[in-house]
C-alpha cells in the first residue's frame, strides 16, 4: 500500500506524466463537450421530426429519423467509431478530432432524440388541447406551452446521457487518440511507470470528478426549473 502512495507521488511530481494526463483530459473534454452539443442539436431535430404531425412532406424525414435511431441504438459505439474512422473519413488530413466528435455526436443524438420525444409525450395532452382550443397554432402551442414543460421532464434523462457520453469517449483510445484513458495507458506502460494501477486509478478519479461536477450542475438546473411548481 505504501508503494501505491509513492507511485502516486511519483506521478504527480513528474511533469511529463502530469502533462500527459492533462493533455488526455483536455481531449476527453473537447470530444465530450462538442459531441454533447452535436448530439443535442441532432437529437432535438430528430425528436421534432418524430413527433410532428404526419404530412406527405415529412414521410421521408420521419422514415430516415426512425432508421437513424434504430441503427445507432442497435449497434456498438466502438463499431460506429471504427466505421467513421476507417470507412467514412479516411481521406488524408481529415482531423481525427472532428471524426471522433461526429461519431459520438451522432451516437448521442439518437439517445437524446428518444429522451426528448419521451419528454414531449409526457406533457399532458390537455395542455396542447387547451392551447389549440384558444385558437393558437400548433407551433405556438408547442413553443410556449409544451416544450418548456418537456424540457423540465427531459433534463434528468439528458444528464444521464451526457454522463454516459463522457465515459464512453474513452474508447477513442482504441483508435490511438490521446485521451485520458490513452494517457493512463501510456504512463503505465513498461517504458514509463511500468505499473498500470496508479495511472489508471488517477484517470478513473479524473472521470469521476468530471461526472460528479456535471451531476451537480444538472441538479442545480433541475432545481431551478422546478421552482414554482409542486408536482
Amino acid at each position: 500500500m505504501g508503494d501505491f502512495f509513492t507511485k502516486i507521488a511519483e506521478l504527480f511530481n513528474n511533469p511529463v506524466y502530469l502533462n500527459a494526463l492533462l493533455r488526455g483530459l483536455g481531449l476527453t473534454l473537447q470530444i465530450s463537450i462538442a459531441a454533447a452539443l452535436t448530439g443535442l442539436i441532432i437529437g432535438t431535430a430528430v425528436a421534432l421530426i418524430g413527433i410532428a404531425k404526419p404530412t406527405p412532406w415529412l414521410k421521408i424525414p420521419k422514415f430516415l429519423a426512425r432508421v437513424y435511431v434504430t441503427v445507432i441504438r442497435g449497434t456498438p459505439m466502438a463499431l460506429q467509431l471504427f466505421i467513421m474512422f476507417y470507412v467514412v473519413f479516411t481521406f488524408r488530413g481529415f482531423p481525427e478530432l472532428i471524426t471522433a466528435i461526429l461519431a459520438f455526436g451522432i451516437n448521442s443524438g439518437a439517445y437524446v432524440s428518444e429522451n426528448i420525444r419521451a419528454g414531449i409525450l409526457s406533457v399532458d395532452i390537455g395542455q396542447t388541447e387547451a392551447g389549440l382550443a384558444l385558437g393558437l397554432s400548433h407551433r405556438t402551442t408547442m413553443q410556449k406551452i409544451v416544450l418548456p414543460q418537456a424540457v423540465k421532464n427531459v433534463i434528468p434523462a439528458i444528464g444521464n446521457e451526457l454522463i454516459a457520453l463522457i465515459k464512453e469517449t474513452s474508447i477513442v483510445s482504441m483508435i490511438g487518440m490521446y485521451d485520458l484513458t490513452m494517457a493512463a495507458k501510456i504512463i503505465g506502460s513498461g517504458n514509463n511507470m511500468a505499473s498500470y494501477l496508479v495511472p489508471m486509478s488517477v484517470a478513473a478519479a479524473a472521470y469521476l470528478i468530471v461526472v460528479y461536477f456535471l451531476t451537480f450542475v444538472i441538479k442545480k438546473i433541475e432545481k431551478r426549473l422546478r421552482a414554482g411548481d409542486l408536482h
Binding site: 387547451a130 384558444l134 393558437l136 414543460q149
Partner: protein
C-alpha cells in the same frame, strides 16, 4: 350562430357521434344531459374541431368550418375543460394573456389590464402571479373560464366544468357561470348538475347513443319527457 348538421365522428369502427344536428342562436344556453359514454365530450370537441368530424357539416355564422379555418373559429368558440388544463408552466396572469397577445388581438399591456380587471372582478387578483399548482381546483376552473373570456368568445362550451372539483368548489364555479349567463353569453354546457341545468338552461338536449334523442324547453324536458329512454334516465338522476 352555429349550425351543426348531421355530424358524425368515428374512431375506426367505433361510431361515437351519429347524424347529430343542433342549432344554437345568440343568447341561448343549451344544456346537454346524457348517460356516461354517450359521446358528450366528443361532441363538444367536434364543435371546435379538436376532433375532426368524419361526416356532416358545421357552420359558424353561415361559414363552413374546416380544418383550415378551425384556428380562427376556435378564437371565437371558447372551451372549458373538465380538467381545467391551465398551462402549468405559466402563472395565472400569463395563462390569461398568452393567447390574446400571441394572436395579436391585444397588446401585452392591454392584455394584462384586461386580465387584471377580470381577475379583480372574480376576486382572484391575489392569485395573478401564482402558478396553477398553487391554487385550489375551484380557482383553477375559474381561471380557466376567465382564460376563455379573454378571447371575448361568442360561444362558450363547457365540458362537465364541475366534475373534477372538490364539493366546496362547485358553487364558486357555478356562480361564475350564472353571472356569465346573466350577461347574455351564449353557452353549450355538458353537466351532471341537474338542478343547475334546470336553473340555467334555455333549452335542454338529451344525448344518447351518439345523437340528440330529445330536445325541448327545460320545463317540458324535465316534466314531460317524450322518449322512454329519457324518462328512464331522468328517473335515475332526479
Amino acid at each position: 350562430m352555429i349550425s351543426i348538421r348531421n355530424i358524425s365522428k368515428s374512431f375506426g369502427n367505433n361510431h361515437v357521434i351519429k347524424n347529430l344536428s343542433l342549432e344554437i342562436s345568440k343568447g341561448e344556453r343549451v344544456v346537454v344531459l346524457g348517460p356516461s359514454g354517450c359521446g358528450k365530450s366528443t361532441f363538444l370537441r367536434c364543435i371546435n374541431f379538436l376532433e375532426p368530424i368524419t361526416g356532416g357539416e358545421i357552420y359558424f355564422h353561415n361559414q363552413l368550418v374546416t380544418t383550415k379555418n378551425a384556428e380562427a373559429v376556435r378564437q371565437k368558440i371558447g372551451l372549458v375543460f373538465q380538467q381545467f388544463n391551465l398551462f402549468n408552466n405559466l402563472t395565472v396572469l400569463e395563462n390569461l394573456t398568452l393567447a390574446p397577445t400571441e394572436l395579436g388581438l391585444l397588446t401585452p399591456t392591454g392584455a394584462k389590464r384586461k386580465a387584471m380587471r377580470l381577475l379583480r372582478h372574480f376576486d382572484l387578483q391575489d392569485k395573478a402571479s401564482a402558478y396553477p399548482s398553487r391554487i385550489s381546483s375551484g380557482q383553477k376552473q375559474r381561471v380557466a373560464i376567465i382564460r376563455a373570456l379573454m378571447m371575448d368568445p361568442e360561444l362558450l362550451l363547457f365540458d362537465e366544468p364541475t366534475s373534477a372539483l372538490d364539493p366546496e368548489s362547485i358553487s364558486e364555479v357555478l356562480d361564475l357561470i350564472r353571472e356569465l349567463a346573466k350577461n347574455g353569453l351564449t353557452m353549450l354546457i355538458i353537466t351532471h348538475e341537474i338542478s343547475f341545468a334546470k336553473e340555467i338552461a334555455t333549452r335542454m338536449c338529451f344525448l344518447n347513443n351518439g345523437t340528440i334523442e330529445e330536445e325541448d324547453a327545460p320545463d317540458v324536458f324535465f316534466n314531460h319527457p317524450k322518449t322512454p329512454r329519457l324518462k328512464e334516465f331522468l328517473s335515475k338522476v332526479l
